[in-house]
Symmetry: C2
Subunit: 400 residues, 2 copies
């Protein structure tokens, strides 16, 4: 996985990020990703019953073999905005399509920001045209795009990689994402975008994306509040080439998994006010769903998150969160390790050096919680962050 | 509902609270409620798979017609303590039974405090004997008991009332409870105790308690973390009298409901760090369960709780929490009022004076959220508190 200073830009894509004037701060707030020719596209979206207008627009379109662009704005979620909100999303696609010479349904849209306000369409329309005209195949265009989609993120989230197929063709995959709160995805996550110059048919692309998202973006949380705007979109270019198959398709799926996992971890790591990235592993379950259920209950417990913020190995909070996750198990089947130190085995508390464990938590940004049952071979991983006074400060006063 | 300065003590009950030395602070930490003759008893308990030893003990006993006492300790939850923890709970009941001249299974137990530590049994045993010997039928005994069961509560929670049956008998009901975190009861709540000198058979007592708890203690949360120790126990004395029936039993059920609702609201009102008590009403649902599901999702969202702490009418957080509650509905069916001001109607944002709404939230401790669907007549109420930096401070450092 290359770092952001040496981006691998997939062939045939351009990007830009501009200041459209949607954010009151005046920071960049509108990004485009443009493909030179039509792409196959897949997407996964929020399961929130209040789905944002851009989510409603995209859902009706993907999977598709004819996508030319993604338009993303920050500063306004265009969610809970009724019929006018949907008209505004559609109008955004129309303006981009006109500039690109394609149909509106060849343009995907994503929005993030405050809920319940109508988009300032004059600024959005002007911004879309400026961004399309500025779109560049250089790394700078993609860095600008990754900054323009930020809300309370403290840093942009962009990764890329390059691999060779069996026939020697170079395949590049680039992904960008944003956090940093209202993160508790149940079928998708906040905004994530992946583009590749590997030629993958929309059915295969969609299958890979759904499987990977379920084990990466769907396994993170900041505070567990599922957003109205969660969307992960993936575009595959190189139209005209033969689609990847067999071992090459498998390699590509591995690239998608690595990219999504890296981006997904970046979101709680940059969660609002976070001082620790917490990885929760649950092993020995009957199925993956049960393991995920336990991991999510631990991840979403404010008592667990504040204990870790305080570098307090208060493991009773962890096992009690597992206990209310809705999975049937007996106390005597449960064991717990914190950063590799066994604290609780088969339902019995163990002696351990709590000061040493606390010191290690203070010294390291990452904390690993491992819970084990004895019911089977299934396991799951989940990533979250600690809960701090800074999270409260940021959220006690965000719209007004 | 009388205030705590003029307690109505049910006839035939005594209580005490003493300093047993379980809490490091040296504050009172052991309470007893003693009945002069055997009582019918009902209980509801946590659904956490890691149930505390005292919960395991009580569950095997209630409902019962032969209860003589409840022993409650704070400072140690006796949860996740394995076989030794259960032995310690049993030993506590044995010591009390010996002093009272009854069987151990005539004694109920409750514990609250830190998870995963064994009880200091020498101190517990001495404390039980001292408390039983000190138990008094005066109000002071019950006030002392209500203080000895506190953990991070800032104030004791005790209420009482008196009514007359149709035949002119006076019926008294007294209840006590404690909070103040790890509050997200799913079948019971933290500790609640009710005693009455109305004679009610254990079957009727149990029926009333379960029905009432489901709409009171089960409809509160502080941070949604379901405890290992949640227990509500109710004792009915006046052995030898005819049990209440018909209109009298109905009147008694009303007393239980009023008492439980008052105690239940006191818990989030005194939630750790709370500056607002939030009441969430959900109307127009197909059934009560769906209404409760939506109310709980809103109550447990850190984004909603921090917005209210900041007196920010950021209603998008409220409707989006309703959207991920797992209840099927269409955006166009949903409306929202905040403190009686309509903000969102039938899926469309309304114009409103956000400064006036914010000023009212700043001025009042209580905030009322009203969500309405158009699917039926069922409704639910839920009580929670806001999330503040003080909650973080209290919980980033509680055991160590």
């Amino acid at each position: 996985m290359s770092d952001t200073t040496a981006l691998e830009i997939p062939e045939g894509f351009r990007a830009a990020g501009v200041k459209a004037g949607i954010k009151p701060s005046g920071l960049p707030d509108l990004a485009v990703i443009v493909a030179d020719s039509t792409c196959s596209a897949a997407g996964t979206f929020t399961t929130n019953r209040i789905a944002a207008a851009p989510v409603q627009w995209d859902r009706a379109i993907v999977p598709s073999e004819a996508i030319r662009a993604i338009v993303i704005n920050a500063g306004n979620a265009n969610a809970a905005t009724g019929a006018q909100g949907f008209e505004n999303a559609k109008r955004t696609a129309e303006v981009a399509a006109e500039r690109l010479g394609c149909l509106p349904e060849h343009v995907l849209i994503a929005s993030t920001g405050v809920i319940g306000h109508q988009l300032p369409m004059d600024r959005v329309e002007a911004g879309v045209i400026r961004a399309i005209d500025a779109a560049s195949a250089d790394a700078s265009g993609f860095h600008d795009a990754s900054k323009a989609i930020m809300t309370t993120d403290t840093r942009p989230k962009i990764v890329s990689m390059r691999r060779k197929t069996e026939t020697g063709k170079t395949v590049r995959l680039l992904g960008l994402a944003k956090g940093a709160a209202m993160i508790g995805p149940r079928m998708a996550t906040m905004l994530g975008f992946l583009i590749t110059d590997a030629r993958v048919q929309m059915g295969a692309l969609s299958g890979i994306l759904h499987e990977v998202v379920d084990e990466t973006f769907n396994c993170i949380s900041v505070e567990g509040h599922t957003s109205t705007n969660d969307s992960v979109l993936m575009l595959s270019g190189s139209r005209g080439e033969l689609p990847l198959m067999g071992a090459d398709l498998k390699m590509f799926a591995g690239m998608v998994r690595e990219t999504c996992e890296t981006l997904a971890r970046m979101i709680p790591d940059d969660g609002e006010g976070a001082t620790h990235l917490i990885t929760i592993e649950v092993n020995g379950c009957r199925d993956r769903e049960q393991a995920t259920q336990i991991a999510r209950a631990v991840a979403d417990s404010p008592l667990v998150k504040t204990a870790i913020h305080g570098a307090d190995p208060n493991w009773g909070r962890i096992v009690s969160a597992a206990g209310y996750a809705g999975v049937m198990f007996d106390e005597s089947e449960l064991s717990l390790e914190l950063d590799g130190v066994p604290l609780y085995r088969d339902g019995v508390p163990l002696d351990y050096d709590s000061e040493a464990v606390s010191d290690r938590m203070k010294a390291n940004r990452e904390v690993r919680i491992t819970l084990s049952l004895k019911q089977g071979d299934a396991s799951a991983r989940f990533w979250t962050c600690d809960l701090t006074a800074e999270y409260i400060r940021l959220n006690a006063d965000y719209t007004t």
